[in-house]
């Protein structure tokens, strides 16, 4: 009997330890330099919802650390008077249900002033209403699906959630930009379109297909793959039968990299092009081949004067993971929240839920110079920054080949 009690106690203790470990792991304090600032009113929290584990973790960890950097800098500079800022990063594993749990957790904590996230448009769909219900402002560094701000009917746009903003441009610019480059500049006329059936991939592929057709190309084949698939021989055999001269893929790099490699193995030596979801070094590790193309939001971070300070500060912090495709956007998103919060509170304000409306309207009218350029939002909550860059795999690296604001 005693034996059994001891066993149960050991199990309970082990569980408690594991929980404690998770707790300390997830809530990271935003830097130490706050000693000189007045933090007498307590702590406010910036939430992050991004995939910190799973196949898209490379992107999510870049988002988390960049937001951490913004929080640490704000603490050093005493940006928010009377408060210390904290970061609470929640893992959404790139899954809508898990994202909803993260959003519920963050929105029930009344010190959470705003949330940076999500990475995936499909996750944003479940996160948006939860945060909006509690009037928690949300700025996404990476959601590019247009319906998140304007609704599904783009000819008759209607703002979806007053709390939702994003600092990156959308797929109704990104898709056409890719189509213009592939059809007009590279002269590809027979294009096969493959997508993964998710909100982001399907939307991007549709935006691309429309513009490519207008530009004079023919979509010779349309296919869909599963998000967890790894063997694409079936899909690619069908694509090959349509003899395209390029493949456009709507989706993310865990599928796109192997897909490009398997296409080449089947004798399809044509470029694969995709959107910001495949623009990651991991794409090349997983099989992305020379000559493959990707569009991504914003100008190349390394080329922007405005981003140099960000890159330097990020590297000085010595984060384990690179800032990846959305780091600079995440940094700008966090700064937009922090700076709007400082405006809302002023010199002597005290945070309470009644200030949330004011914070939302301050984010809406926020104008700043961020790492990715000028940061501001239009009446739908979309970024006014419509700069897109086309990258190509050259010498096992993504190299920018064209940067410009998309004009329509």
């Amino acid at each position: 009997m005693l034996n059994r009690t001891v066993k149960a106690a050991v199990v309970v203790m082990a569980g408690a330890l594991a929980l404690a470990a998770c707790g300390t792991n997830k809530t990271e304090s935003g830097g130490g330099g706050s000693a000189s600032c007045d933090t007498s009113k307590g702590t406010l929290t910036i939430g992050v919802i991004a995939p910190l584990t799973g196949s898209l973790a490379a992107l999510g960890l870049g988002i988390q650390h960049s937001a951490e950097l913004a929080v640490a800098e704000a603490n050093d500079k005493c940006t928010v008077k009377g408060y210390k800022l904290n970061l609470d990063a929640e893992d959404d594993t790139a899954t809508p249900q898990v994202g909803a749990q993260a959003a519920t957790k963050l929105s029930s904590d009344n010190t959470v002033v705003g949330v940076v996230g999500t990475l995936n448009s499909s996750v944003a769909q479940t996160v948006q209403p939860i945060l909006a219900g509690k009037k928690v402002v949300q700025i996404s560094p990476a959601n590019t699906n247009p319906s998140l701000t304007k609704g599904t009917d783009l000819t008759n746009p209607k703002r979806q959630f007053p709390t939702y903003f994003r600092v990156c441009t959308t797929d109704n610019y990104q898709g056409p930009d890719a189509a213009d480059y592939l059809v007009k500049k590279s002269g590809k006329k027979k294009i096969a379109v493959i997508q993964d059936g998710k909100t982001y991939g399907a939307g991007l592929a549709a935006a691309f297909s429309d513009r490519a057709t207008t530009d004079g190309a023919t979509i010779v084949d349309k296919e869909q793959v599963g998000e967890k698939d790894t063997d694409f021989s079936g899909v690619l055999t069908k694509v090959k039968a349509a003899s395209p001269d390029a493949i456009y893929y709507g989706g993310e790099y865990p599928v796109a990299g192997p897909l490009s490699k398997q296409a080449a193995a089947l004798g399809l030596n044509i470029p694969v092009m995709g959107g910001d979801g495949i623009f990651d070094p991991k794409y090349i590790d997983l099989g992305g081949k020379e000559g493959d193309l990707a569009t991504s939001v914003g100008a190349p971070v390394e080329s922007l004067d405005s981003a140099k300070d960000f890159v330097k500060a990020y590297q000085a912090k010595g984060y384990k993971d690179p800032y990846a495709a959305y780091g600079a956007f995440s940094y700008d998103a966090a700064n937009a929240i922090i700076s709007s919060l400082a405006t809302t509170l002023g010199d002597s304000g005290t945070w309470s839920d009644s200030l949330r409306d004011k914070l939302i309207s301050n984010v809406g009218s926020y104008k700043g110079q961020g790492a990715t350029g000028a940061v501001a939002f239009d009446q739908y909550g979309d970024s006014t920054n419509k700069v897109l860059t086309v990258y190509q795999v050259t010498g096992k690296e993504w190299k920018p080949v064209q940067t410009g604001a998309f004009e329509g």
Binding site: T53, G54, S55, L56, K228, T230, K238, G257, A265, G267
Partner: protein
Amino acid sequence: MATLLQQIVNGLIFGGLIAMVALGYTMVYGIIQLINFAHGEIFMTGAFGGLAVYTWLLPAEAQKIWYVALPAMMVGGAIVSLVVALLMERLAYRPLRNAPRLAPLITALGVSVFLQELTRIVYPGANSAVPFPNVFSAAPVHIGSITIPSSGLLMLVVSVVLSVVLQTYVNRSRMGRAMRATAQDPDTSRLMGINPDRVIVLTFGIGAVLAGIGGVLYGTYINNVDPYIGFQNGLFAFAAAVLGGIGSIRGAVIGAFVIGLIKNIADIYLPGGTAYDYVWIFILLIAVLVFRPQGLFGEVERVRA
């Protein structure tokens, strides 16, 4: 026509992969009526085991010689899978040997998630997909207009050979007879001097070795692995085992090839194309189960005293 032939080849390769995993499902079920949902993860750990052997144990010269590297990786993957499977059997399933059937089933799901997350945390870089070297010949085989990846062909050949060896072993050897006896009636076989625990361990072990070798060949063919590859492939393998008649070795292999072929032929000929190929697999599965609930080669469930 060329497209059809190519799809048949693709289907056979996929079927070969699924067969190696399905054998483990079907054998374990045959002996202890446990649907071991963690078996897909045994396959996954085998792939990571092979990759670990390649990365840390093989000297650089040996990495380039496929007939040294590949067998070493297959042995390494099989050993890792074997150890994981035996630990799983000893720690998770044996304590539940006489519990209601639902308990080990739920445990299997738990073990599955545990192994996925453990691999993700323990293996360096496994937070996302890890590139896997193609140690076998990278040059594809061309027959007419059909392209067959060499590593895929190898997977198919190894799978068929191992299935035949296994079938012979179970039908001819002394231990094989013990396995069949335990499957038929564990209590009587114990009276006949068979140690059921030994038979069960052996069954888990054989299934794990096959899955481990399958994992390494899968990595060589697909060229990247992540901790979640066991889930989807395990699901197809389970479907193959049920389609062929769970408990039957021949059934699992044939079920796997049927699933591979249906998937790839649905891509070109059935409505919905590539977006609906999985739907057709499971429609077929349901159709077979409606008319033959025991599967294609399965035996009607025996009533046990």
